[in-house]
Amino acid sequence: MSSEDRRLQMLERIMREHGYDKSALLEILHMAHELYGYFDKNLLNYISSRLNLPPSHVYGVASFYNLFKFRRPGEHVISACMGTACYVKGVEEIVSAIEREFNIKRGGSSPDGRISLFITRCIGACAMAPNITIDGEVIGRATKEAVLERIRKVLGGGVVEAR
């Protein structure tokens, strides 16, 4: 079975578990997003037809919430916490440094698609501000140097593997 079919099957199972309940839309979107990493129109159309919801409603809901992405993210995902504590402690400078070094804009991916940089809302680790998350791992009390170094390492590692 292709991974595509498997994902679809899992999505179908989740919808069945929720009894194709329209009110479980957000839960189902969560699952679909987890499976696919982002939403495209086909996926949303599929969900809308299975739940018998208007397509515009599904798109409206999915695009309302910040967590959902509508573009395929890069191989590595960096998210910078823009919570108050992180801002007060200078996360902005770190973000600008990442943007400069890797030719990337917040909310977007690098030209080669290897890394994406997202701004997230407070992740609640305020006492360790500023926080940068790289591929799911939180770096607390982050400094510009440490973060750049870590990203270089993550990217470098990728190159070695590719060989």
Binding site: L25, L26, M82, C122, A125, C126, M128
Partner: protein
């Protein structure tokens, strides 16, 4: 299971725990995890094993102890020795010297007693002391006995009366009397009724609810079940931010355990009372924490608030009576039931009883999670518990109440913490964020940051919030570019009052607070930007001039 069975669980667990001479509680909360808390936990475990102490010393993973800035931390009982900045290497050292030789490792101890001195831990009673993933430990420390008391000895009305007597008010921000809210839902005839526990703590710089859920999930579940019993609800939802994966995981596990012990579900403790709880995850929308926004979100819609009345108590989820309560409020409930409303009412101030959890962050020496009695002053929080601003810097302001809170100056520090005083000063209790700002920060820039947050989080439904806030932010940007005019200050004031008074929901109504309070307390900084084209803190004018 019957009530007696639960009591036996407590006894058995207590017996088990008594076998241990000491206990190492390792904080594995979101605060300590990034600094290697799990490795520290493992190091403790293997050291205990290495020295053959498995029967004497229990290593336990617990929730947050509060001193998040010096993690990973661990609490060793008996004696309440708190260790800071633990590494796997010195974990072994601690076992060797403290557990075996009985001599605390002084150089690793958290020496800051002031941090705990003025705190009063009710809601966080179990945080850092029990393993949140073991319901037996919660039961052992008296957990679920309040629920048993309600189900076996009290009528729903008596439960509500007790909550009314306690004077407890909603901890989500607005401070509405909890018992009164329960009464509203209880007297509604329509069924089914719902209870929603609000854990959509979206305020940047606030992590009190998350910490509570990670440290003591059963306190929330028990409080919620008692509330359901009191108002006659049969279904509940815990709405959690998806940004809090550990809290989601912990609550999910705790729910499973509570269900398996028949503390949630059908015929709870073999009574006629049914109450099922489901977890629902948010997806990144601050406004979903608003009462009616949360309803829309649970119903699977865009989380746009709707005007009230009708209030959720009459017409909530799917048009049915619904009780919406912040998780911190709910965690207070078991204590009120066990100790009585009058006992609770003695804590805090007469109009504002009990305690409040705050996330203390920013430019302060001891950031972390604290719980203090209502009525304590901001000065005590910032300078005593928080230890003041780091050396060499000067205190400038304290932001109370999250992004829609207010920036209060030194002169407001002697204000007692209660809903009314804070509102009068231009701030709000919010969900309990205190961010300390020092002289390195520009107040215009600070106001911009919070306004920008609210602009991004506005749902877009009503004009004042969607357009008014945006315009306010744009005016700030103009000022920060050095193109401001003095008239802008009046316009900001007028727009601020308009957005506050005309917006549909709490987000818009409080969003102008940062601008209105900085205009009120730090007007000179605005004037410096406009007249002298200077940013006193040297932050602004980084945006390219436009014309």
């Amino acid at each position: 299971m019957k009530p007696d069975d639960i009591l036996r669980v407590a006894e058995r667990e207590a017996e088990k725990q008594r076998a241990y001479k000491s206990r190492i509680n390792v904080c594995c909360s979101s605060g300590c995890l990034p600094f290697g808390a799990l490795q520290v936990l493992k190091a403790f475990e293997s050291a205990i094993k290495e020295y053959g102490l498995e029967g004497e010393c229990k290593v336990s993973r617990t929730g947050c102890i509060g001193t998040c800035s010096v993690g990973p931390v661990a609490l060793i009982e008996p004696g309440g020795f708190l260790y800071q900045n633990i590494t796997p290497e010195n974990a072994k050292e601690i076992v060797k010297r403290h557990i075996i030789s009985g001599e605390p490792v002084k150089e690793l101890l958290y020496a800051n007693e002031a941090f705990f001195k003025k705190q009063y831990r009710l809601v966080l009673r179990n945080a850092g002391r029990i393993d949140p993933l073991r319901i037996e430990e919660y039961i052992m420390v008296g957990g679920y006995s309040a629920l048993i008391k309600c189900l076996t000895k009290m009528t729903p009305k008596e439960v509500i009366d007790e909550v009314i007597a306690s004077g407890l008010r909603g901890r989500g921000g607005a401070g509405f009397p909890t018992g009164q809210k329960w009464n509203f839902v209880a007297r509604e005839k329509a069924t089914p009724k719902y209870v929603i526990a609000n854990l959509d703590e979206g305020d940047p710089g606030v992590f009190a609810n998350r910490t509570l859920a990670e440290a003591d999930p059963h306190a929330i579940i028990e409080g919620m079940t008692i509330a359901a019993y009191a108002v006659g609800a049969e279904k509940g939802y815990i709405y959690v931010r998806a940004e809090y994966p550990l809290a989601v995981q912990t609550l999910r596990e705790a729910l499973k355990q509570a269900k398996s012990m028949n503390l949630v579900g059908e015929n709870i403790l073999e009574t006629q009372f049914n109450f099922d709880i489901e977890l629902r995850m948010g997806a990144g929308a601050f406004v979903a924490g608003e009462e009616t926004g949360i309803l829309a979100s649970i119903e699977g819609r865009r989380a746009t608030p709707r005007p009230r009345p009708p209030y959720p108590a009459t017409s909530g989820l799917w048009g049915k009576p619904t009780l919406i309560q912040n998780v911190e409020t709910l965690a207070n409930v078991p204590l009120i039931i066990l100790n009585g409303g009058n006992w609770f009412a003695k804590i805090g101030t007469p109009k504002c009883t009990g305690t409040k959890c705050f996330s203390l962050t920013g430019k302060v020496n001891n950031p972390g999670l604290i719980e203090v009695p209502m009525g304590i002053t901001l000065r005590e929080i910032v300078f005593e518990i928080g230890g003041g601003v780091p050396a060499g810097r000067k205190f400038k302001a304290v932001l109370v109440g999250g992004p829609s809170g207010g920036c209060l100056p030194e002169s407001a520090l002697d204000l007692p913490i209660d809903y009314e005083s804070l509102t009068k000063a231009g701030a709000i209790m919010g969900s309990g964020g205190i961010v300390v700002i020092d002289d390195e920060s520009c107040m215009v820039d600070t106001a911009w940051f919070f306004t920008d947050f609210c602009v991004d989080e506005s749902c877009g439904k009503c004009v004042p919030c969607r357009v008014g806030l945006l315009k306010m932010r744009n005016i700030l940007e103009r000022i920060m570019r050095g193109e401001g005019r003095l008239e802008d200050l009046d316009l900001l004031q007028e727009l601020g009052e308009y957005v506050r008074d005309v917006s549909l929901c709490g987000l818009g109504q409080t969003a102008p607070n940062p601008i209105l309070t900085t205009l009120r307390y730090f007007r000179d900084e605005y004037i410096a930007h406009i007249v002298d084209k200077k940013c006193p803190a040297g932050k602004c004018f980084r945006l390219e001039a436009e014309i």
